[in-house]
């Protein structure tokens, strides 16, 4: 899966416009980033990549690139 496809998945769960999310974006600067967005991310990564994100892992995410790195 390409980064572009992963970004599209994130845009969908974060309810962002298509093409608006960049790998360099900082999570804490996104208006949509809250506990529900984090839960959606936990579900996305579990269901599509078979990985279990812990709360600690999510708290360590700084940029969207950090999120893309676990989407493998």
């Amino acid at each position: 899966m390409t980064d572009k496809e992963k970004l599209a998945m994130l845009e969908e769960i974060f309810e962002m416009d298509e093409g608006s999310l960049k790998a360099t974006d900082k999570l804490d600067k996104l208006d949509c980033w809250d506990s529900m967005a984090a839960l959606s991310l936990i579900v996305l990564v579990s269901d599509n990549f078979g990985k279990k994100l812990t709360g600690a892992m999510i708290e360590d995410f700084v940029t969207i690139q950090d999120v893309l790195n676990v989407m493998e």
């Binding site: 529900m36 984090a38 839960l39 936990i42 279990k52 994100l53 709360g55 708290e59």
Partner: protein, 224 residues
């Protein structure tokens, strides 16, 4: 944690799981339970008084509201677990009831007095004894219990109205927070089209017993 509510013969117990409320309503030697979690002390108290559990009602399918169903059914095999048909579908699916993701989420979430916690939850499934669609009426110990589907927070959400005095509302209405509809099966459209008009038909001075945090009157609710 045990909290005596203002309502008659109704006691709220607060779980460690996102501070969800379990309610036990006692009438004579019988009781009903709403959104059970495993809490030995609560049921030891009932056993000492020879009070039996007749019915267990579930406001919706999320893990923090159903975690005690299997535990309670083992302890009170004669009890009847009742929920909506859609709730039953979610209860049997660890993705929809969020048990699969619960420990990660619990580490992150905080609201009001609720603080993030570390916990370990395995995939969890449970099953009701009885389901309904749209509305059901149950006569229990001289009380009229009306169940209504209230989709929005989840597909299987319901209100449990006891004698037009108490409204067990799950996570559909709160005093200080809007409804959260971003869960799997949640729908702001369903809330606005089905549940909100229904809420408007309920008398405003009914005491609301929410799934988290303390009780309030319906006219004090955030979405009122």
């Amino acid at each position: 944690m045990k909290k005596q509510t203002a309502a008659m013969d109704t006691i709220a117990y607060v779980s460690d799981l996102l501070l969800s409320n379990m309610y036990i309503c006692v009438e004579g030697a019988k009781a009903i339970v709403i959104d059970p979690f495993a809490c030995g002390s609560a049921f030891d108290d009932l056993d000492k008084k020879h009070i039996d559990i007749d019915c267990v009602f579930l406001t919706h399918e999320h893990y923090d509201h159903i975690s005690g169903v299997n535990w309670l059914k083992e302890r009170y095999p004669g009890s009847t677990v009742i929920c909506s048909k859609n709730c039953a579908i979610g209860m049997a699916n660890p993705k929809i009831n969020y048990s699969r993701y619960f420990d990660s989420f619990a580490e992150l979430i905080s609201f009001g007095e609720c603080k993030a916690i570390k916990t370990t939850v395995e995939d969890y499934k449970c099953y009701p004894d009885m389901t309904f669609e749209k509305e059901d009426l149950i006569e229990w110990q001289g009380n009229k219990i009306i169940l209504n589907e209230t989709p929005g927070h989840s597909r299987g959400s319901i209100f449990i109205n006891v004698d037009d005095k108490l409204l067990f509302s799950g996570d559909t209405i709160f005093k200080d927070f809007p409804i959260q509809t971003k869960f799997i099966g949640g729908s702001i459209k369903d809330f606005n089209m089905i549940t909100k008009p229904f809420i408007n038909t309920i008398q405003k001075d009914i005491r609301v017993m929410p799934g988290h945090l303390g009780p309030f009157f319906l006219n004090e609710s955030y979405d009122h």
